[in-house]
């Protein structure tokens, strides 16, 4: 039993990997599409987790980076025939640049102020997407985004595209995992726990937060690139406030500070939104209940609940057996 407690997380990860790798050729096209979508949002949620879970900075404007990445792809592929690598590079760089600029303003504050300032900054991107019609086509959005071109294999089919996104997800995960396990990542956690302590210890707190902020933004842009390719369509809705809040929900629901958690949270929310809406018109209501339920019943998220459950089982093993 003890070994179960210790091995459970690794086993769960393994099961997830097998499912994501081997199952897709056998599922319906609807489910395949959902899985692809979930992977994109999982990347987005993980990038926010770097900021929220590991550095302790709750941002209400993360959708801005999704939009920056998505619009890069939208504009470059429909108007300039750009290939995948160009669009990807521009998308990630533009998002990183956006984060670099926004970070200078946002990181002057913490807590509620940081929340509000990131909201406002996210709104500037939304505003541009909505009104700068000559560039973004405003409300109409940019449609007709083709599947990625310029790759050694053809990804226009749903299944190859899924595996492309899965590869992207793995790349994003590995990069973020490395960042998080590095001394830099540990410093971020230290900053989350106590900025003043880290400052006393001699760490350059602002610089660490800034670099983290830019990496998170770049990650968001990375996800945004695949979001545009997945949808074939980019619109201002990608940058609206409700989208930013939804990413926060995914991180909170899954369990912040774990990378796995937000990915899981993304899967749950994507599946919930798409499957529930088949059975009822009232999916907004249900989503709202999920928002509230998460905070009331699972503030540490699903991973948090799983951890507590495992800990309780582990403790049960250590209790001395009753005397015969």
């Amino acid at each position: 039993m003890e070994t179960f407690v210790r091995r459970a997380p690794r086993a769960a990860a393994l099961v997830a990997a097998v499912v994501l790798l081997a199952l897709p050729p056998f599922v319906s096209s609807f489910m395949l599409s959902l899985l692809t979508q979930a992977l994109v949002w999982a990347m987005l949620a993980m990038s926010l987790d770097l900021l929220l879970g590991f550095t302790g900075l709750a941002s209400l404007g993360h959708a801005a980076y999704l939009a920056l990445g998505a619009y890069s792809v939208g504009i470059l592929t429909t108007r300039h025939g750009a290939n995948f690598w160009t669009a990807l590079a521009v998308g990630v760089l533009l998002a990183a640049l956006g984060a670099a600029i926004f970070g200078l303003v946002a990181l002057r504050a913490t807590g509620v102020y940081f929340l509000m300032i990131t909201l406002a900054l996210g709104m500037t991107v939304w505003g541009l997407a909505n009104r700068w019609v000559s560039v973004t086509s405003g409300d109409n959005g940019i449609s007709g985004v083709p599947r990625p071109r310029g790759l050694p294999f053809d990804v226009s089919g749903a299944l190859p595209f899924y595996y492309l996104v899965l590869t992207a997800f793995v790349v994003a995960f590995v990069i973020l995992w490395t960042v998080v396990r590095s001394p830099f990542g540990k410093t971020l956690v230290g900053i989350r726990e106590s900025e003043s302590r880290m400052r006393t210890l001699g760490y350059h707190v602002w610089l660490h937060k800034y670099v983290g902020f830019v990496i998170a933004g770049a990650g968001g842009g990375f996800a945004g690139v695949f979001w545009a390719y997945y949808n074939g369509f980019v619109s201002p809705a990608d940058s609206e406030l409700a989208t930013s809040v939804e990413i926060l929900l995914m991180v909170a629901l899954g369990g912040r500070g774990t990378l796995f958690g937000p990915a899981l949270g993304a899967f749950v929310i994507v599946l919930l939104k798409n499957v529930v809406s088949i059975y009822t018109h009232r999916w907004l209501l249900i989503l709202g209940v999920v928002y509230i339920g998460t905070i009331v019943y699972a503030p540490e998220g699903i991973i948090g609940m799983a951890r507590d459950w495992l800990k309780a089982r582990g403790r049960a093993q250590l209790r001395p057996a009753p005397s015969p």
């Binding site: 929220l52 709750a58 209400l60 200078l104 303003v105 002057r108 504050a109 807590g111 509620v112 102020y113 929340l115 509000m116 300032i117 909201l119 406002a120 900054l121 709104m123 500037t124 939304w126 505003g127 541009l128 909505n130 009104r131 700068w132 019609v133 000559s134 609206e240 406030l241 409700a242 809040v245 926060l248 929900l249 909170a252 009232r282 907004l284 209501l285 989503l287 709202g288 209940v289 999920v290 928002y291 509230i292 339920g293 998460t294 905070i295 009331v296 503030p299």
Partner: protein
């Protein structure tokens, strides 16, 4: 750019600012007092409009519509605060997600009860039409909105600055712990201010229903504006709410008229600049 254009834009900007002030006046104090990030604020605005509509459809006059909206939304706001928000003090993420949940629930309830069609609130005869002053036309209704905002602003200012209750409110904004230590019933005051903020938002919703209309999605449309005004004006300050509303109202109108392609940008970018210089907003007290 003629004088006519300027005067027209200034008038529109100020009347929009009046609407924003109604929406935001309470929000700024709520922020200051409880640091609550309330995504449901837009819902109070929209539901206020819907309640007034329902009441007026049954034949009640405009003024009764406003009163009904205020009462219903006050109750909803107090219920939400008591059941959930009170416990989440200090947890910004929790507040954002919980209030967002309620906002979504209210949005769906709005769809269930009133359907997806947009409505306008019928204005009483004496408030429709416009006043002609030389070459300018000033819609009476917009002047009415400005009047309401001025009355509300004056009342709030009088209460905050000249009454004992106001002093207690300001004390709670500046330092809730000390206020509690001095014997101020922070709990009651917080609840009262929260209710007041919700009521003002609902009145804004009714009033806006007369010219923008009441429709699904208005709640999330107005929310960023509300937050921007509070951020720019500074949290916890009535003067900040006033100045912020004026700034946003004027910038929005001039921006839309002069640079339509960048109109949202001309609004949010100066805001970001102000924040870059003063992260707590122009007149922030917290």
């Amino acid at each position: 750019m003629s004088l006519e254009f300027f005067i027209g834009q200034i008038f529109n900007g100020v009347s929009y600012a009046a609407l924003l002030f109604l929406l935001v006046g309470g929000l700024s104090l709520i922020f200051g007092m409880m640091r609550i990030v309330n995504m449901t604020h837009g819902s109070y605005y929209l539901l206020g409009g819907y309640v007034a509509l329902t009441v007026m459809w049954r034949g009640a006059p405009f003024i009764l519509g406003i009163v009904a909206a205020a009462v219903v939304i006050a109750l909803i706001g107090i219920a939400e605060w008591n059941a959930f928000l009170k416990r989440l003090s200090g947890q910004e993420l929790g507040q954002v997600l919980t209030t967002m949940g309620f906002a979504l629930i209210f949005q769906d309830l709005g769809l269930i009860i009133w359907g997806g069609d947009p409505y306008t609130i019928k204005l009483p005869a004496m408030l429709s039409g416009s006043w002609e002053v030389g070459p300018y036309f000033f819609p009476v209704y917009r002047v009415f909105i400005m009047g309401v905002a001025v009355v509300v602003a004056l009342t709030l200012w009088l209460v905050l600055e000249k009454t004992r209750l106001g002093a207690m409110m300001r004390a709670t904004v500046d330092d809730p712990e000390m206020a509690r230590g001095v014997g101020i019933n922070v709990h009651a005051i917080s609840m009262g201010v929260f209710a007041m903020g919700a009521v003002l938002a609902s009145i804004a919703g009714v009033v806006a229903g007369g010219f923008v209309g009441v429709y699904p999605g208005a709640d999330f449309e107005i929310l960023p504006y509300a937050f921007v005004v509070v951020i720019v004006g500074g949290m916890g300050s009535l003067k900040g709410a006033l100045v912020g509303s004026l700034l946003v109202g004027l910038l929005d109108n001039f921006g839309k008229a002069l640079f339509p392609e960048l109109s949202y940008f001309t609004l949010f970018a100066p805001m970001a600049l102000i924040l870059a210089v003063r992260p707590t907003g122009l007149f922030g007290r917290v």
